[in-house]
Symmetry: C2
Subunit: 156 residues, 2 copies
């Protein structure tokens, strides 16, 4: 991991920000333990940078190549109804991308995962979440294998 | 505009989806009239495609070059506190990117624009919105000039 710009108190400077799946000297991919949305990966830039526009073009290209590879991993392993991609960073202004598998019967569809939960039986969303969790071992393994192809290293 | 895949009933197939700022044969950039978030551009793929992963690598690169150019436009003209980038498409599964300027005193910060409004005096968010609106003419002109550099054409 490159030892670059770190900001005391930033959770993404002081921790991995999730279960580390793979990394290189610029960024890492983590699996997020989000109860209602378990098919949730994040691509996190190691340095404390707020905006994509602060990166060089080559750095942006690398970030997006990894984001689109994680999208492909989620689509291949989980066959979701939709992929959500987002880089917000309002609460934690340290560059990270959310890559989220969504289903028509998940807890919030068609609203965003940052919205109030959909007005439906919570058991339906929980059933979807359980079904996705059963595929997480396969997701981890396939994600590592695909990211090796982009030059990232596994983390064990 | 390329006449490609269109889906009857899709609002982004049947309309521009906002005030058209610039376009090429693959995509367009529109300004969104969102009362609480006027510094809001969208990059919309012309064809009815749901996911970035359905595009070729060259097409993805083009979309992201335009997204990052619109990010640069918002940062230069509006000096926001944060940029939000997102491609969700749960409600309208026709590929589009939200590129949104955010401020600490806007109506929802640090929540997403899809979240419940922040618990604060609505007049503060409205004042920010009014201040941003005063810059929209400049934003349109600068956005067109920057996108010409990526091969897009102005729309008048």
């Amino acid at each position: 991991v490159r030892t670059g710009v770190r900001r005391p108190g930033c959770p993404l400077c002081e921790g991995f920000g999730g279960e580390l799946i793979a990394r290189d000297d610029r960024l890492r991919v983590v699996l997020i333990d989000e109860p209602l949305h378990p098919g949730f990966l994040r691509v996190i830039w190691h340095d404390h940078v707020a905006e994509m526009g602060e990166l060089s073009r080559a750095e942006r290209d690398h970030v997006m190549a990894v984001v689109f590879e994680t999208e492909a991993v989620l689509r291949t392993v989980l066959s979701p109804d939709k992929i959500n991609l987002a880089s917000l960073g309002n609460a934690v202004p340290h560059l990270h991308w959310h890559v989220i598998a969504r289903w028509h019967d998940d807890a919030q569809f068609p609203a965003s995962v940052w919205s109030v939960a959909a007005d439906r039986d919570p058991q339906v969303g929980l059933a979807r979440s359980r079904a996705v969790r059963e595929r997480l071992s396969e997701l981890r393994a396939y994600c590592r294998s695909r990211l090796l192809g982009l030059g990232l290293s596994e983390f064990r």
